[in-house]
Subunit: 230 residues, 2 copies
DNA sequence: CTTCTTTACAGGAATCTTTCCCGAAAGTCA
DNA sequence: TGACTTTCGGGAAAGATTCCTGTAAAGAAG
């Protein structure tokens, strides 16, 4: 297995060092940057396999860095994990909508961070999924061709929107999606509704899924996610 | 849907296990063989729906196995996907010339392999489903040659379009089709009509089919489907 | 002219959205 | 740490909307 190359962006030296130490120990090759400009420069020249990006940066802030990277063809595919202070939900939401892959709130434990990195890299590597093949996740079989969901061998009747939402979430277990991303996925972009309507769909889904409803997790202040581990 | 039966041939235990695990999870019934002789024996006795065949085998090698299977009447129709180390292009070419259906180079991701398997099986089943053989589903017998439908032994008179629609839906029980897919199937692509006209055909069909009309199901917000389970 | 197909439309059912209330979780201040 | 405040999501129910059914009639095809 080739060692993945990871760019870490943070303006605090201790954090940079902490992360670098832990990632190196795990066998990753680490690049660092302590401000947004350097981050963008290194990302463009090195094209790392992943970027750990602090949102709070002097000068160009993290969101802006993410925006720039996601708008360039050669860097847009690089997965980004955001670091943010606890409570900055709005930044997290913006980041996710820009296309960031996950986030970790400070203060964090290196273990958590590494687990997230692994999860994101793994997801990226098997993202070759065909829009129409049945999706097997946990006890679920979600079949877009039949528009039918089986949970533990039992068929579950879902409405159009419920199906779309479940399928969307289940395609990427572990990913957090904002309500507006969910609406976009289910109804197409620019479909104007209140965010809260997503909540109602989620409630309905959980009810119909019964015990397995617990696989749809609420991420307070951010959105929803399909559970990754059983 | 009957679970397809797949024979996996490889001499490395880990690979065998990896593939078996993933295929089982997808609902396939898996047989295994760790050398060419066993592979041929099992293929002859079980007549699986597909064979995943490593080309690099001790004793009788994969190409030879393929040659043997393709030369016997009762096994020649079994589709074969070859596994080969990267770079063995010449073997791959020989294999394809022998009649193998596809190949995957090692190392491979289970997702890729499964996608290929699906594609090959799909192709095969399309070939088999002869456009003209009578279709036997539930209490229906749909005979494209005579353009005649029997329900519970009783003939039902259908108009041209009604017949096309029913036949199209019944060919793939359980699959949902949009109105425009149905129109395309019945009248050829690019035939311009309102989606609503499909509804009317459906209504007519249900009426003529009487009690069995319930096998044509409405999938709200999507289209129609022929019921799979009775 | 007869038969089949398509369009039009009203009625009604299913689904989706909004709204509001409550309780739980997180933040704040002492 | 504990009580108070604020924020956010769950749940229920009313309202709005979308979608399907079935009939009627116009339009094509033979």
């Amino acid at each position: 297995m080739a060692k993945e190359r990871i760019l870490v962006v943070d303006d605090e030296d201790d954090i940079l060092e902490l992360i670098t130490f832990n990632l190196s120990r795990e066998g990753y090759k680490v690049f660092t940057a302590d401000n947004g400009e350097k981050a963008i420069k290194i990302a463009k020249s090195e094209i790392p396999d992943m970027i750990i990006l602090d949102l709070m940066l002097p000068g160009i802030d993290g969101l802006e860095v993410a925006r720039v990277l996601k708008s360039r063809d050669n860097t847009k595919a690089i997965p980004i994990i955001m670091l943010s202070a606890k409570g900055d939900e709005s930044d997290i939401v913006s980041g996710l909508e820009l296309g960031a892959d996950d986030y970790v709130t400070k203060p964090f434990s290196p273990k958590i961070l590494i687990a997230r990195i692994r999860a994101v890299l793994r997801r990226k590597s098997d993202e070759i999924s065909d829009e129409n093949t049945p999706l097997h996740v946990h006890a679920f079989i979600i079949d877009p061709q039949r528009r039918e969901v089986m949970v533990d061998e039992n068929p579950v009747e879902l409405t159009y929107t419920e199906f779309e939402v479940l399928h969307f979430l289940a395609k990427r277990p572990g990913w957090v999606f904002t309500r507006s991303q969910i609406v976009d996925a289910a109804k197409g972009d620019n479909y104007a509704v209140t965010d809260r309507s997503v909540d109602v769909q989620i409630v309905g889904l959980r009810k119909k899924l019964g015990d397995s409803g617990k696989f749809i997790e609420t991420v307070r202040g951010v959105g929803y996610r399909f559970r990754e581990r059983s």
